[in-house]
């Protein structure tokens, strides 16, 4: 039904097809013809889901590797690691999509703390797909953005589970060194945004 409606809507917006018309001849009767064609294409729907907000707390002057930092570790925002869920991109019947990403500095307004961001497409074994890394950088005071294409999406009727390489995206947040300290109190926030489009 949804496909039928899509086709109907598409039909209404299609330009008039080029006519291979034949005019009739002048006579007691006259016959002309035209070519009637209908092109119906299915537009692929796309949706990204499964991003999870991350919040961590650390005391000033304390190293990340301090055992007291029980909630502080590199955060892999994918799979079941830390219960953070996964990022999943689905399209009708799968297919390829393009990705735009943007990452803002980690800031509380006047102050900025650098952090490391890795955005990649993980793979599972066995897989015919290769892992791809879209971003692996330290974010300081300047936002970062970029794009990538030819990424395989998952079908809507399948899940982006651990056993599938299709559709999954991962983000790894870290702070460079286990000896890293933060000395200025504040609530620092950063935003990571993905926009996906069918190709």
């Amino acid at each position: 039904m949804k496909h039928a409606l899509t086709a109907l809507a598409l039909l209404a917006t299609l330009p008039a097809p080029a006519l291979a018309e034949t005019n009739g001849t002048l006579g007691a009767s006259s016959t002309g013809s035209l070519k009637f064609s209908l092109n119906v294409e299915e537009q692929k729907r796309i949706q990204i889901s499964g991003l999870t907000d991350v919040e961590q707390t650390i005391e000033t002057g304390r190293q990340l590797q301090d055992p007291a930092n029980t909630d502080f570790e590199n955060k892999l925002i994918w799979g079941t690691d830390g219960g953070l869920g996964y990022i999943c991109v689905k399209m009708d019947e799968g297919g390829l999509y393009s990705l735009d990403w943007s990452v803002t500095p980690l800031s509380d307004g006047p102050n900025v703390e650098s952090y490391d961001v890795t955005i990649y497409r993980p793979i599972s074994s066995p897989s015919t797909l290769a892992s791809r890394t879209f971003l692996n950088a330290t974010v300081t005071t300047t936002p970062k953005s970029g794009s990538a294409s030819n990424i395989e999406a998952q079908r809507f009727d399948r899940n982006c589970g651990r056993n599938s390489s299709y559709g999954r995206l991962a983000i790894l947040l870290s702070h460079g060194s286990a000896a890293r300290r933060f000395n200025t109190p504040g609530t620092y926030t950063a935003t990571i945004t993905f926009t996906v489009r069918p190709e």
Binding site: D53, E55, T60, A190, T191
Partner: protein, 178 residues
């Protein structure tokens, strides 16, 4: 109805929580989602500890000499180097048996000569309960070689009892950074 109004009032005063759009819309053109990473960098809590307290036992023989005053040093440690002083709340119960109160005096004093702060009192038949600010703490949890406070306790006068007796009291010390 009152409860309903209370809930309504509460909901109106709650801050709006910032939230990222974690899932994008289903669309034929594009789908956008984001996450927020929040790092809370906080000052560590200031911790304080009092230690080195000793139970006191005064033995007095009927008709004998006065029991001498007793004293000992006390360790008070504060974890934050920038917080040097603390408040002391001292609660002292009467020293009593079934028939008699035995008045006693005490002095809790700062050992730092340049900080002559102390809290003294006499306890007779009611609990002493006072707070004094400005005592100096140690930045060493074991107060090694530098105990910052000293407590002295003495019976106010010789017991005037003719029979053997046993009395006990409790003193409580509550310290907090200031």
């Amino acid at each position: 109805m009152i409860r309903l109004l209370s809930i309504l009032a509460l909901s109106l005063t709650l801050p709006v929580l910032a939230s990222a759009q974690n899932s994008g819309e289903l669309s034929t053109s594009q789908s956008t989602a984001s996450l927020t990473y929040t790092l809370n960098v906080v000052e560590p809590p200031t911790l304080i500890q009092i230690s080195g307290l000793e139970d006191l036992n005064f033995d007095y023989n009927i008709g004998g000499a006065s029991a001498p005053a007793q004293s000992f040093d006390i360790c008070v440690y504060i974890s934050d180097d920038s917080t040097e002083t603390y408040d002391l709340q001292l609660q002292a119960d009467p020293l009593t048996d079934t028939n008699t109160n035995y008045p006693y005096t005490f002095t809790y004093e700062d050992n730092l000569l340049s900080n002559p702060v102390s809290l003294s009192g006499t306890v007779t038949d009611t609990t002493f309960d006072q707070t004094q600010a400005g005592f100096t703490a140690s930045t060493d949890q074991n107060c090694s070689g530098d105990w910052p406070a000293r407590l002295t306790v003495a019976l106010q006068s010789d017991p005037t009892v003719a029979t053997t007796s046993s009395a006990s009291a409790q003193m409580r010390f509550t310290v907090s950074p200031n």
